[in-house]
Symmetry: C2
Amino acid sequence: MKKRVTIADIARELNITPATVSRALSNHPEISAATKKVVQEAAEKLDYNRNKIASSLRSGRTNVIGVLIPTAEHIFFGSVIHGISNIASKNGYDILIYQSNESQQFEKKGIDAFISARVDGILASIAKDTTDFSHFTYAKAQNIPIAFFDRVNNNLGIPSITIDDYRGAYLATESLIKEGYTRIAHITGPQHIQTFKNRVRGYRDALQDYQLPALEEWVYEGNVSVEAGREGASVLLSLTNPPDAIVAVEDFTALGVLKELKQRNIPVPQQFGVFGFCNDMFGEHITPSLSTIDQQTVLMGEEAFKMMHELIQYNGAATGVLSKVLQPIPVIRESSRKTSKP
Amino acid sequence: MKKRVTIADIARELNITPATVSRALSNHPEISAATKKVVQEAAEKLDYNRNKIASSLRSGRTNVIGVLIPTAEHIFFGSVIHGISNIASKNGYDILIYQSNESQQFEKKGIDAFISARVDGILASIAKDTTDFSHFTYAKAQNIPIAFFDRVNNNLGIPSITIDDYRGAYLATESLIKEGYTRIAHITGPQHIQTFKNRVRGYRDALQDYQLPALEEWVYEGNVSVEAGREGASVLLSLTNPPDAIVAVEDFTALGVLKELKQRNIPVPQQFGVFGFCNDMFGEHITPSLSTIDQQTVLMGEEAFKMMHELIQYNGAATGVLSKVLQPIPVIRESSRKTSKP
DNA sequence: CTGTTAGCGCATTCAA
DNA sequence: TTGAATGCGCTAACAG
């Protein structure tokens, strides 16, 4: 094991003190340009690489953000991480990843790991299973800046960044209405999850605003999956008063709806409209292509980092940082275009 | 900022020395069970949380693995990270993520960040742009265990974990042959990438083994995308001697092929067979559903961590750890099933 | 502008 | 089995 070069080595080489080297390398304002230059060159020459561990221990800051996600296997979170990670790198932060796998127990472990690692802040998206949120308030009590993204809890006094699910569902429903569909149903997910609840509200309010019927039985609650989409569509189409369009809670659910419709030979969009939610990559390429709501995942990641960055800067001081809501963007494709052809 | 509890606090509380506390908490064999118990309880009571930074500085080990990926926006890498991260957590390791965004420059920065963070090991998947690999050999020279996954370079003496791309393409081609297709073409990606090159070889060898024609013009080199699939299919179908099946380099490329065929009203699989590569989630749900090669991404992540774990253990000592190749798994669906119906 | 001094919290050597 | 002493590499307060 080759011994690593330290600032002491550079100091010795140049006959100055380690403190000066440290300051020069951190671009401290009170160091002369000449010294900085010499130190830089010596560092380069000796192949010096700052030991962040020692630096962190001394300074009390790690420049690491802990990111807690339910799973990296879902492209939604990959996309958010993409956003977080890129802007974080640009600002000199590293990203520690932990997966809860939708379990409260692992989520708690993740928070503990972050605290142990002395991360400067935590960005978290809550697991489906979580009912006890004390690990989050604990982190907050430890004075670690924390913010939620996408899967949030508004009762903990923790800032968050989300997209406006209510508005997304509203826009989807409204788009179908404007295309001429009049009996619009909704397939949603488990209602203990805020996100899905908000979408139901947006869907309902759109119908009400346009004075269209909003039958109780037109809201089908399933799991979020292709299968749920099929089953939901099947149930809805078997009603005595079946709908002529469906707003699905998510793109794969919408895909299930499309499959069921195809099997029943119901032409989309001519006789039936379908709207998804997520803007997953495949939607653009299936037939008919899927209208959906874009969730701006990368932007969400970037905004999440920015918020965290501010929280870190102003921690302790009173701060104006509050929750932020991103606007969903309707992406209208074939599956909902009853009137005009593409 | 509440002062954090340290081992000194615990020591004071119990009238023993910090050294003993440290040993007790690390479950050192030479500490009495009684002391361990008392220390554990005091730690719990005082809400002690080990400072990994200080521990790392002293011990020289961080228990952090740096994972370098091209982008988190591709589900393939998300899936591998899922595999790495879960097994890493189980073994007490944290995961630091860095994205190269397919750029050599950022890749280099990532390696530097990892070295600065004093990670115990690096798992990397090479960027498309990378032509100079010195940052990898540099890390290795610094005595940091490093291994590649999926996107590898075999000329650096760095172990790697891949799936057998050659065999994957061979199996895809063979499957088409056994279904009765006889004029099989291939749409591949940039040939400076080993992965794609190997798939071309697998494709060619299958044709040869079954004594089928392998025209030079039946291999179309494009970018890896839906558009490349469309274009490749278009070019191949315009040949005076067009194929009756295509092995695509990847699922989205296969999707492009399917779109082009649909537009030309060529029935799949009856008159034309299509095979993808990746087993992306959408493939199961499109029409016709897509035959493809599963790359065992989660397993790849798990095996990557296991390999890294061994490298870390035996670093310095001569080690038997070599590259590992995972077996691809054909997933046969409608798009290639000429003979039998599902 | 630079040097001196001190210590972040822990793990490890050597002694007892 | 435990205590005492040391230092990992760096940064920050205080001097000069």
